[in-house]
């Protein structure tokens, strides 16, 4: 009792987070050892995937029918060393894994970024303006919530991936994504289709969270006073509401990245997402599953990064939650 009853002075609840507060957040986060370690792991994965074209020892899609299913550290007929072995077409596993990291992590981040942006904007509109705007957005949210997400994800993805011409992506977008993911423009279209599908189903949680945040922040006195001082709606939204809603949004985004990463892996694993020859962790695991009885190490190689990334992102999210909002522990 006595520990928690210190009254919070009004200034502290004010929206402007001084640099000092972020420093406190950072210090708190750093105390979370495991989360710091996970940041290191994830950074390493990101750096490796960014450097994929530079450090990959082989060509990504180059088949080698004389050197299929090589064990890790195995050598092919030409004496080439394959650190992680080769796949069913004799393609170098390490090379494909590097490119796959780029595609998988990139897809997850991009899709979550799009989804969060949509969610934040719609949630802010619904929460701030209320009335019919809120009605329309909330009803839509309710309906989307009753959709069987995974089924629709699969249906939409399979349709779009089969008909990549239907993907609304301008040429410059395709070339940008091709550069970003280190793939061809055709592949970039498929990746974009998957990103679209993931983003389309990923924004509802964020919107609901944001709406709730805005509603609670709006109740606070200082918004009233800001309005009394004649601040415009947009100004209030961005100067007052947004900074307050930011901490839970950061946590939401982090956990969202994991959600999208897992969803993309699942789609690709089942064969409805990003297609071979574009490597992703999911589709590599999908192929490896067929050969796991003869070559049991094969599924381990793409499964490991999924495992590491997924757990790492979740621990980071956990650490961030502790650091940003120490009351929400548990």
């Amino acid at each position: 009792m006595a520990t928690s009853t210190t009254a919070v002075p009004l200034e502290e609840a004010a929206p402007r987070r001084s640099e000092g507060q972020w420093a406190i957040v950072f210090r708190r986060f750093r105390r979370h050892r495991l989360a710091m370690f996970c940041v290191g792991l994830l950074t390493a994965l990101l750096l490796l995937s960014a450097a994929a074209p530079l450090i990959a020892p082989y060509e990504r899609d180059a088949p080698n029918l004389t050197g299929r299913f090589l064990t890790p550290m195995g050598r092919d007929a030409d004496g080439g060393l394959h650190i992680l072995g080769t796949d069913h077409l004799g393609r170098d596993y390490a090379t494909r894994l590097l490119y796959a990291s780029r595609v998988s992590l990139g897809t997850a981040f991009t899709a979550t970024l799009i989804a969060s942006t949509i969610g934040i904007i719609l949630g802010m509109l619904a929460g701030y303006f209320g009335g019919w705007v809120d009605m329309a957005i909330s009803r839509f949210l309710e309906i989307v919530a009753t959709f069987p997400t995974l089924l629709l994800l699969l249906i939409l993805s399979s349709i779009l991936v089969q008909n990549i011409n239907a993907v609304p992506l301008p040429a410059w977008g395709a070339s940008f994504l091709a550069f970003l993911f280190a793939v061809s423009e055709r592949e970039a279209r498929i990746i974009f289709a998957v990103i679209l599908v993931l983003a389309f189903f990923g924004w509802t949680g964020t919107a609901r969270l944001m709406r709730g945040m805005v509603l609670s922040v709006r109740e606070n006195v200082y918004i009233e006073s800001a309005r009394a001082l004649g601040a415009s709606n947009v100004r209030i939204l961005f100067r007052h509401v947004f900074p307050n809603a930011l901490p839970p949004m950061i946590v939401d985004f982090t956990l969202g990245v994991n959600g999208t990463l897992v969803a993309e892996s699942a789609l690709s694993f089942l064969g409805f997402g990003i297609q071979d020859p574009t490597p992703t962790w999911g589709n590599m695991l999908g192929y490896a599953q067929s050969y796991m009885f003869q070559y049991p190490w094969m599924p381990l190689i793409p499964a490991m990064p999924i495992l590491i990334a997924s757990i790492a992102i979740n621990y980071i999210g956990d650490g961030l939650r502790d650091a940003l909002d120490p009351r929400q522990r548990g």
Binding site: I143, T146, F147, P148, L150, L151, L152, L154, I155, L156, S158, I159, L160, Q162, N163, N165, A166, N258, V262, S265, A266, F269, L270, G271, F272, L285, Q289, M292, F293, P296, P299, L300, A303, I306, L307, S310, I311, I313, N314, Y315, D318, G330
Partner: protein, 397 residues
């Protein structure tokens, strides 16, 4: 209550209808689609050149020769199935069997063939004699266009449903029975070694995708155990086709109870583990919250025994939010676990969906989708009613 239910049912019907229209539109409005896929498959299979008649047959099978709105109403309510009473509208065109083709000659000499107009129209009269469902509104999901070649979708679902029901039923039951005590105990002994270990396992379990689990399980219990000469579990399918020998256990007859049981263990185990991970965390969090509330302190101050404080005063309250999760159980029972069923080649509904989608059997896909939506809506309704039972503060309005 009756008024409330009536209102809810109307709402549910509307939502289901919207979902049906969206999904149907999504499947059929996108260019390409089943026909291209099917033709491509045939060509790849090395069959003869596809004839005009082939195309016509495929179009007819998928009802692509009927315009979309009519196709949709035929699927939804089984209408139109022929001319109106008295032969009215027998000659109304409602589709096109063979699209007309126009040769376009560009100024630069390029020639392109463009579909334009209709060479062989389909009229209401042509619908007579065609197979048509009574409409999904009346519980008829139509025919399976690819997987069963013209047999009802319902047959297909009924052959798969038992597998899903007993897999999901067992794992959900086990999960609740295990997850609730674990969650409660973790919360009561917060920061104890038990709590630490359970939360870590649950954390990892909840953050990992199910297919990674499935594959690890197969690797460990099937591949590695078998290679090491230990007793192992068969890696997939619900029923074996050949007898096999397992060390220490002996020969297992294909199709025997033991065979089915061994094959059931892994998918059930993986599903149960994943559910436990999620639910025990949920129960723990909710329990911790309740344990810090005033009325728990009141109960202790009254001299209620700690066990009763937890099992009566706290648990009842902490399970209120758990009711929300139950909404999904009805759906899960029916539609199964898509990914786990696929990994273990379990012939359930989830697997059926993947197969149907992969082979463009749209009636099957749509049937499963609609059943899913409807069950989820019913699940939500049941949840809302359950809420009023477990929490006297909530009223149906």
């Amino acid at each position: 209550m009756a008024g409330y239910l009536a209102r809810r049912f109307v709402q549910m019907f509307l939502v289901a209808l919207v979902a049906a229209i969206c999904a149907y539109g999504m499947l059929y409005l996108v260019p390409g689609g089943p026909i291209d896929q099917l033709l491509a498959e045939r060509q790849n299979a090395g069959q003869n050149r596809i004839t005009e008649a082939d195309i016509r047959r495929v179009r007819e099978r998928f009802e692509l020769d009927i315009y979309l709105p009519f196709r949709f109403t035929r699927w939804l309510i089984g209408w139109p199935a022929g001319p109106l009473p008295g032969g009215i509208g027998a000659d109304w065109q409602i589709g096109c069997a063979v699209p007309g083709q126009v040769r376009l000659r560009y100024p630069d000499g390029r020639v392109e063939v463009v579909e334009e107009g209709c060479e062989v129209p389909v009229t209401m009269a042509d619908l007579e004699g065609r197979k048509v469902s009574r409409g999904i509104v009346f519980g008829d999901f139509g025919i399976s266009q690819v997987m069963l070649r013209g047999r009802p979708v319902t047959d297909l679902i009924m052959t798969r449903l038992p597998y899903t029901l007993y897999l999901m039923g067992t794992s959900i039951l086990l999960s609740i029975l295990i997850a609730v005590p674990i969650g409660v105990y973790s919360a009561v002994r917060q920061y104890s070694r038990f709590d630490y270990i359970m939360t870590t396992i649950a954390f990892i379990g909840a953050s990992l995708p199910s297919f990674v689990f499935g594959i690890f399980a197969i690797l460990l219990f099937s591949v590695l155990a078998k290679n090491a000469g230990l007793p192992y579990l068969p890696p997939g399918d619900a029923v074996g086709v050949r007898d096999y020998t397992i060390p220490l256990i002996g020969t297992v007859q294909a199709g025997s109870f033991l065979d089915r049981f061994l094959r059931f263990l892994m998918p059930c185990g993986v599903l149960t583990f994943i559910n436990i991970a999620g639910w025990s965390r949920f129960v723990r969090g909710s329990m911790l919250e309740v344990l810090s509330l005033d009325y728990v302190r009141t109960a202790r101050a009254k001299g209620v025994a700690e066990r009763v404080v937890i099992l009566k005063h706290a648990l009842r309250n902490s399970l209120i939010p758990f009711v929300t999760l139950l909404a999904g159980i009805l759906v899960a029972l029916f539609s199964g676990a898509l990914i786990t069923e696929t990994v273990f080649n379990w012939p359930g509904i989830g697997r059926l969906f993947i197969d149907a989608l992969g082979r463009n059997d749209y009636n099957v896909v749509m049937a499963l989708l609609i059943i899913n939506v409807v069950l989820l809506l019913i699940g939500i309704l049941i949840t809302d009613i359950l809420y009023t039972v477990v929490d006297p503060r909530i009223r149906l309005t």
